[in-house]
C-alpha cells in the first residue's frame, strides 16, 4: 500500500522527528510512504482566526498536492479535522460567494481520503500492536479536534496499551482542553496559561514520565509550560512512541 504523508507545517519546521517517526512506523508496517513536496500549511490558523479568504489558496494547494492518493495520512488530529470538516465548508462558501465551484469540488474530493495517524493504523491497516517498545510510564492527553471533530475515541489508547514496556496511566480530566487553541494562546494568554498549568499539574499527579499527545501544536504549549515550570515530565508525540523499538529508541 502506498500513502501520502501530510506532515503539517508545524511538524515540518519544528518537529521533524514526528514526521520521521511516522515514516519509519509506516514503513515498518509495510506501507510505502510518499511525501508530496508541494504541500504546505493547511490554513487552519488563518481560518480559525477569521481569515477564511486567506485559506482558499492553501486549500487549493493542499488538495492539489494530494490529488490521486487513496490515503492521506497525517500525525495531527487538528489538521485532519481542518481538511475533513472545514475544507468542504470553505469550498461551499466560496462557491456561494460566486468564486466558482472549483474549491468545493477539490475539498469534497480530498476530505474522505484524509486519515489521522491512529485512524489509519486501526481502521485501515487493522493493527493495534505496532511492535513498539517504550519502557516508560505514559499518560495520554486527547487533543480536542481529534477527540471531538474526528471522534478518535479509544484508538490512541489502544495503540499505546499494546506498546511493550509502556505503562499507561489515566489522565484525570483528560478530555478537557489544554488551552492552546491556536491564536487563542496569543489572544488570551492568561486563560491559556491557566489551562495549561492545570493540565500539566494533572499529568504530573499521575506519576507519568511522558505526557503523550497526537498534536504537536498542543504539545508545544504543554511542553513549553512543563519546561518553564522545570517539571520532570516531558511531552512527546504518539507517533514517536509507536515508532520506538529496542534498536531505535525514541529521542
Amino acid at each position: 500500500m502506498r500513502v501520502a504523508l501530510f506532515v503539517t507545517c508545524v511538524n515540518d519546521a519544528l518537529y521533524p522527528s514526528t514526521g520521521i517517526a511516522v515514516v519509519r512506523l509506516l514503513e515498518r508496517l509495510g506501507v510505502e510512504v510518499d511525501f508530496p513536496a508541494g504541500q504546505s500549511c493547511c490554513g487552519q490558523p488563518q481560518y480559525n482566526t477569521g481569515y477564511r479568504r486567506e485559506t482558499e489558496p492553501l486549500l487549493r494547494r493542499t488538495a492539489t498536492a494530494f490529488a490521486g492518493y487513496e490515503h492521506v495520512v497525517t500525525p495531527s488530529g487538528s489538521c485532519a479535522a481542518m481538511l475533513r470538516e472545514h475544507y468542504p465548508r470553505i469550498g461551499r462558501k466560496a462557491a456561494g460567494e460566486g468564486r466558482g465551484g472549483e474549491l468545493a469540488e477539490l475539498a469534497a474530493d480530498l476530505a474522505p481520503r484524509v486519515y489521522e495517524l491512529t485512524e489509519f493504523l486501526v481502521d485501515v491497516l487493522g493493527v493495534t500492536d505496532v511492535g513498539a517498545y517504550f519502557p516508560y510510564k505514559v499518560t495520554y492527553h486527547p487533543s480536542c479536534h481529534g477527540l471531538r471533530s474526528l471522534g478518535l475515541g479509544e484508538r490512541p489508547r489502544r495503540l499505546l496499551a499494546a506498546v511493550r514496556g509502556l505503562e499507561l496511566t489515566e489522565l484525570p480530566g483528560a478530555e478537557e482542553c489544554c488551552g492552546f487553541g491556536g491564536t487563542f494562546a496569543l489572544k488570551n494568554p492568561d486563560v491559556s496559561a491557566a489551562m495549561g498549568a492545570d493540565k500539566i499539574r494533572a499529568a504530573a499527579a499521575t506519576g507519568a514520565e511522558v505526557l503523550c499527545g497526537a498534536d504537536n501544536s498542543c504539545l508545544a504549549h504543554l511542553d513549553g509550560t512543563l519546561r518553564r515550570a522545570g517539571a520532570p515530565l516531558r511531552a512527546l508525540h504518539l507517533a514517536e512512541i509507536l515508532a520506538a523499538t529496542e534498536e531505535e529508541p525514541a529521542r
Binding site: D12, D34, R148, F180, P189, D190, M195, A197
Partner: protein
C-alpha cells in the same frame, strides 16, 4: 419596603455595554482571583458530572437532541407565522400582547404597565430577557422597586453584584460570602436575616424563604420571563427549581411576562422534547421540581379564582430578527438557556462569567451577545475569540448549536468585516479596529506558505539561526514566552530530511 426608602436594592447598571474591558483584560483579573477560580471549578465540575449522569440515563438522547433542534429550526423558519398565532391565542385567552423592538421599548412598556396599576414595587421571577433589557434599572429610574425572588438572583441583587451564570447567577460566590451578604443586606430591603446566621445551605435557604415570603404576600405586580411560549394555545411555560416563580406567577394581581420572540414553539406537544432535555442539561434533574404554565387569564375570573386578573405579554426583539437574517449565526436562537455549555467550558471556568461583559456569558454568550448587540464595541469584538474551539460546548448542547462554527463565522466578521443585518437593513460592516497588523501577518503567512521555495528558505533560515533562539519574544509572541518556553528549533526541517533520506522516491 424598608431600608433606604429608595427604589429597590440598586442593582449595578453596567451589564457589559460598550466601555466594558475586552475579554482578555477582564479574564486576566479573574484568573488571578484564587477564590473565584476555586468557587467556579467546584461548581462547574459538580454540575457537569451530574449532567453527564442524567443525560446518560436516556437511551434516546441523541434523537431528543435532533428533535429539539428540528423543532427550533422549523419555528425560526416560520417565526412570523407562529408569533401571530401566539398573539391571537394569548389575546383570545384574555391577555394583552405588546411588541417591543428593543430594550428601551420593552422597559417603557413594562414601566407604564406597572405605573398604571398604582403600585411602586414588583416581584420578579428570574428572567434573562429582563436582565438583557436592564429592566430593574429602568424601573428604579421610574421609582419602582423590583425584587428578585430567585435565590441566586437575590444573592446577586443584595450583594450589589452582577450575575455571572445563566442558571446560577451567583455561581462565583461561596457559602461564606453568601452568609455575609445576607447578614449585611437583608434588613435594608425587608425582613433581616436571623441573628447568628451560619453558612449551612439549609440555614441560608430558610433565611431567604422568610425574607421573600413577605414580598410574595404583599406584591400586587409580578414580572417574569418564560422558557417557552406555545403558539397554538397561547400558553406560557416556566421551569424552575425553588417554587418562588410559582408564587410570583399566581399570587399577584397583575402579571407581566417579557419574552424573547425566539422562545415560541408551535404546539403543546413540542414541549415533550424540552421537558426532557432542558432539566437534564441545566440542573441535571430528570424533571424540574416546578413547571408552571399559564394561558391568558383562564376561564373564570370571579372573586374565587386563582391567579392574576391582568396578564401582559411583552414580546422582545432586541436584535433577534437581525440575528435570524444570518444563516450561520441564526442557530444561536435555538438556545433554550440551559447553560450546559457554560458548565463544560474550560475558558468560562477560568475567566468567570463577568469577563464576558454580557448577561449571556460563556460559549453561548460569546456567540449571542455580538449578534444581538453587534461587534462594534471592544468587548463584543473580543467575545468570538474567547474560546479555544475545543468543541465541548457543541457536544453538550441539547439543541445542537454548533458554537465553534458560529465563533469562527463571527471572527471572520470581526477580522474582515462583511454583510450583516442591522435593524432590518442589510449593511456591510468594516473590520473591527486593531486587526490591521494581524491581517498583514495572515496575508504574509499565506504568501509564504503558498510558495514552497520561500517556505523552504524560511525553514532553513530558522534552522541556521536555531542557536539564537531567544527565551522571550517581543511583540505578540511575548504572550507565548511569558509563561512557556519556545520549542527547540531542529537542525533541519522534515522536508530536508526527506530529500536527504528518501529523496529518490517522491
Amino acid at each position: 419596603m424598608t431600608g433606604t426608602g429608595g427604589t429597590g436594592p440598586g442593582a449595578p447598571t453596567d451589564l457589559g455595554m460598550p466601555g466594558f474591558p475586552p475579554f482578555p483584560a477582564a479574564a486576566r483579573e479573574a484568573v488571578r482571583d484564587d477564590t473565584l477560580r476555586a468557587n467556579l471549578r467546584r461548581a462547574t465540575h459538580t454540575i457537569r458530572d451530574k449532567r453527564a449522569r442524567a443525560v446518560a440515563e436516556l437511551a434516546d438522547w441523541e434523537q431528543l437532541r435532533a428533535a429539539g433542534k428540528a423543532v427550533k429550526d422549523h419555528t425560526l423558519r416560520h417565526l412570523d407565522r407562529y408569533l401571530i398565532q401566539l398573539e391571537a391565542a394569548v389575546t383570545a385567552a384574555g391577555g394583552t400582547v405588546h411588541w417591543a423592538v428593543d430594550a428601551a421599548e420593552a422597559n417603557r412598556i413594562v414601566t407604564d404597565l406597572v405605573l398604571a396599576t398604582g403600585e411602586r414595587e414588583v416581584v420578579k421571577v428570574k428572567s434573562m430577557a429582563t436582565q438583557e433589557t436592564g429592566l430593574n434599572e429602568a424601573l428604579e429610574a421610574a421609582g419602582i422597586a423590583a425584587y428578585e425572588t430567585d435565590l441566586a438572583e437575590l444573592i446577586v441583587q443584595l450583594g450589589h453584584d452582577r450575575p455571572s451564570h445563566i442558571l446560577v447567577p451567583a455561581i462565583h460566590r461561596n457559602r461564606g460570602e453568601i452568609r455575609d451578604v445576607f447578614a449585611a443586606e437583608m434588613g435594608r430591603w425587608g425582613r433581616p436575616a436571623p441573628g447568628g446566621l451560619g453558612d449551612d445551605p439549609r440555614e441560608l435557604a430558610e433565611a431567604a424563604r422568610l425574607h421573600l415570603r413577605e414580598k410574595f404576600l404583599r406584591a400586587k405586580v409580578a414580572v417574569s420571563g418564560a422558557n417557552f411560549m406555545v403558539a397554538e394555545t397561547g400558553t406560557m411555560v416556566v421551569f424552575e427549581s425553588e417554587g418562588n416563580g410559582r408564587m410570583c406567577l399566581t399570587l399577584p394581581e397583575t402579571l407581566i411576562s417579557v419574552v424573547g420572540i425566539e422562545k415560541v414553539v408551535p404546539t403543546f406537544r413540542d414541549l415533550e422534547v424540552f421537558l426532557q432535555t432542558l432539566p437534564r442539561s441545566s440542573t441535571a434533574e430528570r424533571m424540574n421540581p416546578y413547571t408552571t404554565m399559564w394561558t391568558g387569564l383562564g376561564p373564570s375570573q370571579g372573586a374565587e379564582s386563582d391567579g392574576p386578573t391582568a396578564f401582559h405579554l411583552v414580546l422582545l426583539d432586541n436584535g433577534r430578527t437581525d440575528t435570524l437574517a444570518d444563516e450561520v449565526g441564526r442557530q444561536a436562537l435555538r438556545c433554550i438557556r440551559c447553560s450546559a455549555c457554560l458548565n463544560v467550558c474550560p475558558v468560562y471556568e477560568r475567566a468567570g462569567g463577568h469577563a464576558y461583559g454580557s448577561v449571556y456569558p460563556g460559549p453561548i454568550g460569546a456567540i449571542l451577545s455580538p449578534q444581538l448587540r453587534g461587534t462594534a464595541s471592544e468587548i463584543d469584538a473580543s467575545l468570538p475569540y474567547a474560546s479555544t474551539l475545543c468543541g465541548a460546548c457543541y457536544e453538550v448542547c441539547p439543541v445542537a448549536i454548533d458554537i465553534p462554527e458560529v465563533l469562527v463565522h463571527l471572527r471572520e466578521r470581526v477580522a474582515q468585516g462583511g454583510p450583516v443585518t442591522r435593524e432590518g437593513i442589510r449593511v456591510r460592516i468594516r473590520p473591527a479596529r486593531g486587526h490591521t497588523a494581524e491581517r498583514a501577518a495572515m496575508r504574509a503567512a499565506r504568501l509564504l506558505l503558498d510558495h514552497p521555495g520561500a517556505l523552504r528558505a524560511g525553514e532553513r533560515l530558522l534552522a541556521r539561526a536555531r542557536r539564537l533562539r531567544p527565551r522571550r519574544l517581543p511583540g505578540p509572541g511575548r504572550a507565548w514566552t511569558d509563561s512557556r518556553e519556545l520549542p527547540p528549533v531542529p537542525a533541519e526541517p522534515f522536508r530536508d530530511w526527506w530529500a536527504r533520506e528518501r529523496g529518490g522516491r517522491a
